[in-house]
């Protein structure tokens, strides 16, 4: 059973200068146990997808299914949300917040569960402070703790690391990976490329309300950047013959090859080695998602 399926979801908002098309035809499914990254620039429609999944927004047409069901209150209690800049009442303490949500999520052994999530998110020392006194990173930890209360089968994360300093963001990414190990399916939206490269099994690239591409991170990258450059530094200048045979671009003792697959790299290295050269350094110039992002958005404009 897919944790989340969107079928042909369309959403238009009324705007001052005509309707704003937020989702044109969002149609994708998330597989059990994966981290699925929804990657796209600001205003692409990521949050709209999350809001529709959470029944905060009704689509104009199309359907959403969470574990095969409509997002009813019962279904919502089995999933959870962490949104960047998550907020709770300023006067409440994390302990209050967790107590309330454990009631809302119908958690049987509340005190035990609260102690557990406080410990997991390392927020025990914050539990009696007012929410308004917490830093952005600490607030996100509290949101994280809240999201763990019901041991969600599906966790929706809307730009969770937005506005965090790199250290905290790294911590959060580690925790996301831990969650995945414990069996939680995760939908993560972000506009940070490195985040999906580090975290996600698959990505959907969304741009102007359209999912332009979907697949394993590597596949999506390779599809648009089928080749990548390998720059070898050798112990001496390669011969013209070798350069011709292996289609190398040579400059001094450096040789650049354009490759199509991991196998091609192994073959190249073997051939250079067999020809009697020593390889001093290898530099692979693989496209980052950043490059991909620039390329796609360039194509669309």
């Amino acid at each position: 059973m897919n944790p989340l399926i969107l079928s042909h979801v369309k959403k238009t908002f009324p705007g001052k200068t005509g309707p704003i098309v937020a989702l044109r035809d969002a149609d994708f499914a998330i597989e059990e146990g994966e981290i699925f990254g929804l990657l796209g620039p600001n205003g692409a429609g990521k949050t709209t997808i999350i809001n529709i999944a959470l029944n905060l927004l009704k689509p104009d047409s199309g359907e959403v299914r969470i574990f095969g069901e409509k997002p009813s209150p019962n279904v919502l209690r089995q999933i959870n949300l962490i949104a960047g800049g998550s907020s709770f009442h300023w006067a409440q303490t994390p302990k209050d917040i967790l107590t309330f949500f454990s009631k809302a999520y119908h958690i049987p052994d509340r005190d035990k569960k609260i102690a557990e999530v406080l410990q997991k998110t390392r927020t025990e020392h914050l539990q009696d402070r007012k929410f308004s006194w917490l830093s952005t990173g600490e607030r996100l930890r509290v949101a994280f703790a809240k999201a763990l209360l019901n041991s969600p089968k599906l966790l929706l994360m809307d730009e969770p690391t937005l506005g965090l300093d790199p250290d905290v963001a790294r911590q959060i990414r580690k925790e996301v990976l831990d969650l995945k190990k414990s069996g939680t399916t995760i939908l993560l939206t972000t506009h940070y490329m490195h985040e999906v490269e580090q975290l996600c099994d698959r990505i959907g690239f969304i741009y102007r309300g359209q999912i332009i591409d979907i697949g394993r991170v590597k596949e999506v990258k390779l599809k648009h950047f089928g080749t990548y450059d390998a720059i070898l530094t050798l112990n001496k200048k390669p011969s013209a013959r070798l350069a011709k045979d292996l289609a190398l671009t040579v400059k001094e003792n450096k040789a650049k090859a354009t490759l199509e697959s991991e196998d091609a790299l192994a073959n190249l290295l073997a051939a250079v080695h067999t020809a009697g050269y020593k390889i001093i350094d290898i530099h692979l110039k693989k496209p980052s998602l950043e490059d991909y992002f620039i390329k796609i958005t360039g194509e669309q404009q």
């Binding site: 009704k58 949104a83 309330f100 009631k103």
Partner: protein
């Protein structure tokens, strides 16, 4: 509809109130100081305008009580909007009706306590309320239903139309009270707006309150009219609220206001 969800939201609101005690000023300070002012005024006017002071005192009792119900129920919702926390509540599987009922129930707790205090103050300053306790309480029920109805309607409008409309929480009751003719008979309103008083939730209520003050007996038909008017508002407020939520889910307003 689940009682435990309603209780969870109530628990949360009461907890916030405890953490945020300046809110008690809103709840206690204004109604009680106002009641004392009109109580002293009634004592003073006794010497030259026997019943005028009591009319103001008793009408004001119901006004204050209504304002408390409507404003506090809105305030509880507004605090979730100001703190951007409504989204978290709704995505935890609490329905809009459970949410609303919780807000009204929490308001009722406060309003009952303060209402009782107001009743005692008014009685102390000579309003004959205990002598007519069942009338007093039935009129209070009408005030409760009418003002909670306005609270529900204002919440609906804010959800459907946006935070900009939160000014309604502070202004709505004033206008409704004006058209409901509080200290004066509806006949005194200019004729072209007099008909409005006929469709107001509090017109018969205030008429009853004036009769209480002037020592006249309050006819059951008048009490019935007061309950029917405010009860009708109360009943109609719920589908309106549901419609507002539905609309807000479509227009994107809910997603916007809740985050």
């Amino acid at each position: 509809m689940r009682a435990r969800n309603i209780l969870a939201v109530m628990w949360n609101d009461l907890k916030i109130l405890r953490r945020n005690q300046y809110r008690l000023i809103d709840i206690l300070y204004f109604p009680i100081i106002t009641a004392l002012i009109w109580g002293l005024y009634a004592t003073y006017t006794k010497t030259f305008a026997l019943e005028a002071g009591l009319v103001v005192l008793i009408s004001n009792l119901y006004w204050s009580y209504s304002l408390l119900c409507q404003q506090q129920s809105n305030y509880l919702v507004m605090e979730d909007l100001w703190s951007n926390s409504l989204r978290q509540v709704l995505v935890a599987g609490i329905t809009e009706f459970e949410y609303l009922i919780a807000k009204l129930a929490t308001t009722t707790i406060g309003a009952t306590a303060v209402g009782t205090a107001l009743l005692l103050i008014a009685q102390h300053f000579g309003a004959p309320l205990f002598a007519n306790l069942h009338v007093t309480l039935l009129l209070a029920l009408a005030a409760f239903l009418g003002s909670m109805a306005l609270g529900i309607i204002v919440t609906g409008i804010v959800i459907a139309a946006g935070k900009e409309y939160q000014f309604l929480a502070w202004s709505t009751l004033e206008l409704f009270v004006f058209f409901s003719a509080p200290f004066y008979p509806a006949d005194l309103l200019p004729s072209f707006i007099r008909w409005i008083s006929d469709v107001m939730p509090f017109t018969s209520l205030f008429e009853g309150a004036r009769l209480l003050a002037t020592g006249g007996s309050v006819p059951p038909a008048l009490i019935g009219a007061a309950l029917i008017a405010s009860g009708a508002y109360f009943i109609l407020a719920w589908p309106f609220y549901a419609w507002c939520f539905k609309r807000a889910r479509r227009s994107g307003q809910l997603a916007r206001i809740a985050t």
